[in-house]
């Protein structure tokens, strides 16, 4: 089987690139084909890149607190582009202020993300999620159970 393709980058007007770059390195090492869009990437560019590369998943980083504004409607944009079922992850410091994680997670799952990663999430955790979710999709499920 050819390697799965992942699109990743930092959304919106956010320049925090370091973690996303390290994530991309780890994903490549794990055997994925990674399309890195870098910092300051508008939502539409993630979707365009995913269409062009027939990507299997989009991993969105946001560290600056405005992710809530930037990520609204992200799933709708995917649907419009014919990527309605694409696996969507988001992670980082997603909203302004310190809130209980379940509250933040629900906000982003309700927006149509399949998984949301809190600050401090380990690279290994993301790799496990991807492996299990892609396996679940082979079985016709949306994503793996917890």
């Amino acid at each position: 089987m050819t390697a799965r393709t992942l699109v990743t980058g930092v959304i919106g007007s956010d320049t925090h690139i370091v973690g996303n770059r390290i994530l991309a390195m780890a994903l490549e090492t794990a055997g994925y084909k990674v399309v890195s869009l870098g910092a300051l990437t508008p939502a539409q560019e993630f979707i365009m890149a995913a269409v062009e590369t027939a990507a299997d998943a989009i991993l969105v980083s946001s560290l600056y607190g405005q992710g809530e504004l930037d990520c609204r409607g992200f799933r709708d944009l995917c649907i419009e582009a014919g990527l309605g079922d694409i696996l969507l992850y988001v992670g980082g410091n997603l909203i302004v202020g310190k809130h209980p994680w379940p509250v933040v997670e629900k906000l982003f799952l309700d927006m149509g993300f399949d998984r949301a990663a809190p600050p401090g999430t380990r690279l290994e955790t993301v790799l496990q999620w991807l492996e299990r979710d892609f396996a679940a999709r082979e079985r016709g499920q949306r994503r793996a159970a917890e």
Binding site: S13, T15, I17, V18, G38, A39, I95, G97
Partner: protein, 501 residues
């Protein structure tokens, strides 16, 4: 309005002072870009600035801090609506005892996406909480800025993390802000992806010329350089290179009150050496290139890399950050709080970070490392790292600082670790050595001498061996997250021998 990333100025890039008539045209064009720009009237702005008591003028306050060897405190902070932001500034002033009160702008404003900022204001008002990560200073305009300044009894500084400072600076200065953090080299290489180094330098030549124009009319403003760069293990030598070059560019426009900032390495001796070397090297080049009359102050910033999740560990970083700044002899320290791992702090947590820092500064007063051999060796090493690179930059520019800088980034002679900007090679890789000093594991194309690189490599190989990490990029990656690790991992409470039982 979409963000005009490239400036339109057509004459070739030079470091020379912008002509007055050219500048008048540039200002007219700039102020017409958003409706609130028309609220800026230079004569009224001068009156406004002259009406401020000296303890609310940052240029005066920084001169006093240096004279009296004080270490002042300044947090970050900005919220998406005027009401929330005013309360924040007052709380930082009164409950946090901040010596300098900040206004951080939101990231849409930083990128001049004023329409998006407007939507952010409306959403924040609708939901009663800030959805923006800062104060949209341009959208609110001059009159609101005046009211914010009137609401506090300290000098206020604009913290705008942007390579597009022209409208924010105009509106803030006109409202009574007396300081502006930002510079062409540092912010372009750290906060933008598509803007060229030339574009960023030009934008800040505008802001520096504006500040100098106030000074020519008797109002001294404080300009400041963010040498903390990408905030990710930036070794002092690289921070100081940008400090020297940005200071020279500002001086060429006529700026005479200039702050230099560096992120803390968290190694006491290296931070103290960095402050000392930064002050000396900037003055050396300013004086050498015809600017003997520029006041400079040095600021250290609390840890700029990834923070631990644990409040207790964060409190240690905040307190130790105050200690480091005080012992290093910094004129001010820029603070964080126990909420740092989660993003933007509440006003209460922010004020608490200020008081923790302030207490640490008090405790560490009048301690200096100047006679310590390790300190002297480190100051000497930084000098041997910085001078060859700056001299090469000046040579490449045939004496012109702006041209030399652009060419040096193209060639990789100047480089910034972990930069998001595509005009920066970002080949240079820093890592932390076994003793906690920041060193360079891969110099990329930067012209460090063999002797200097041998010192770095020897120190880093000790760390690689101790932690069983391959010498190379892995060492740099491990260093990015080191400080955010749980303290039980960093400093175990278990004896290795105990495992046997």
């Amino acid at each position: 309005m979409s963000a005009p990333l490239e400036v339109k100025a057509h004459p070739p890039l030079r470091d020379a002072r912008i002509d007055d008539d050219v500048f008048a045209d540039m200002r007219r064009e700039n102020l017409a870009r958003w409706p609130t720009g028309s609220g800026v009237d230079f004569e009224a702005a001068l009156e406004r600035q002259r009406s401020l008591p000296c303890h609310k003028q940052l240029a005066w306050v920084m001169r006093r801090a240096v004279e009296e060897k004080r270490c002042l405190t300044q947090p970050r902070g900005g919220f998406g609506t005027f009401a929330l932001h005013k309360t924040l500034m007052q709380m930082l002033d009164r409950d946090g005892l901040a010596d300098i009160v900040p206004t951080t702008t939101d990231s849409y404003t930083r990128n001049e996406q004023f329409h998006l900022a407007q939507k952010g204001i409306e959403e924040s008002e609708r939901l009663g909480r800030s959805l923006l990560n800062g104060y949209p200073l341009v959208n609110y305009g001059v009159e609101h800025a005046r009211q914010l300044i009137d609401a506090i009894d300290k000098p206020a500084i604009m913290l705008t993390g942007t390579a597009l400072p022209k409208l924010t600076g105009e509106i803030g200065f006109a409202g009574g802000y007396s300081g502006y953090l930002g510079s062409g080299i540092a912010y372009t290489t750290s906060y933008t992806k598509e803007l060229s180094i030339e574009g960023g330098i030009r934008n800040y030549q505008y802001l520096d010329r504006l500040a100098a124009m106030y000074a020519e009319h008797g109002v001294e403003l404080h300009r400041r350089q963010p040498g903390f760069l990408t905030g990710t293990n930036v070794p002092p030598c690289i921070a100081i290179m940008t400090c020297v070059l940005d200071a020279l560019l500002a001086a060429r426009q006529g700026v005479r009150n200039y702050g230099l900032e560096m992120g803390q390495t968290l190694h006491l001796v290296q931070d103290a050496a960095a402050v000392s070397a930064c002050r000396e090297l900037c003055q050396e080049y300013l004086c050498g290139l015809g600017h003997p009359d520029v006041f400079t102050s040095v600021t250290l910033l609390h840890w700029m890399g990834a923070w631990p999740q644990d409040d207790a560990q964060c409190a240690a970083l905040v307190a130790y950050g105050g200690t480091l700044a005080a012992i290093a002899g910094a004129a001010s320290v820029t603070t964080k709080s126990t909420h740092e791992a989660f993003g933007i702090p509440t006003p209460e947590a922010n004020a608490e970070g200020l008081r923790i820092t302030r207490m640490a500064i008090y405790l560490a007063r009048n301690i200096r490392l100047d006679t310590m051999p390790e300190f002297r060796a480190e100051v000497d090493l930084i000098g041997r790292e910085v001078r060859p690179v700056i001299d090469k930059v000046l040579e490449m520019g045939e004496g012109d600082v702006a041209l030399g800088t652009v060419r040096a980034f193209e060639a990789g002679v100047l480089d910034i670790p972990w930069s998001p900007n595509r005009f920066v090679k970002s080949k240079v890789l820093p890592a932390r050595d076994a003793d906690g000093y920041l060193r360079i594991v891969d110099p990329g194309l930067m012209p460090f001498s063999r002797e200097v690189m041998e010192i770095h490599e020897a120190k880093l190989r000790l760390r690689a061996r101790r932690d069983k990490i391959a010498y190379g990029p892995d060492l740099a990656v491990a260093s990015v997250y080191e400080i955010s690790e749980p303290v039980a991992t960093l400093l175990s409470d278990k004896w290795a021998e105990a495992v046997r039982a």
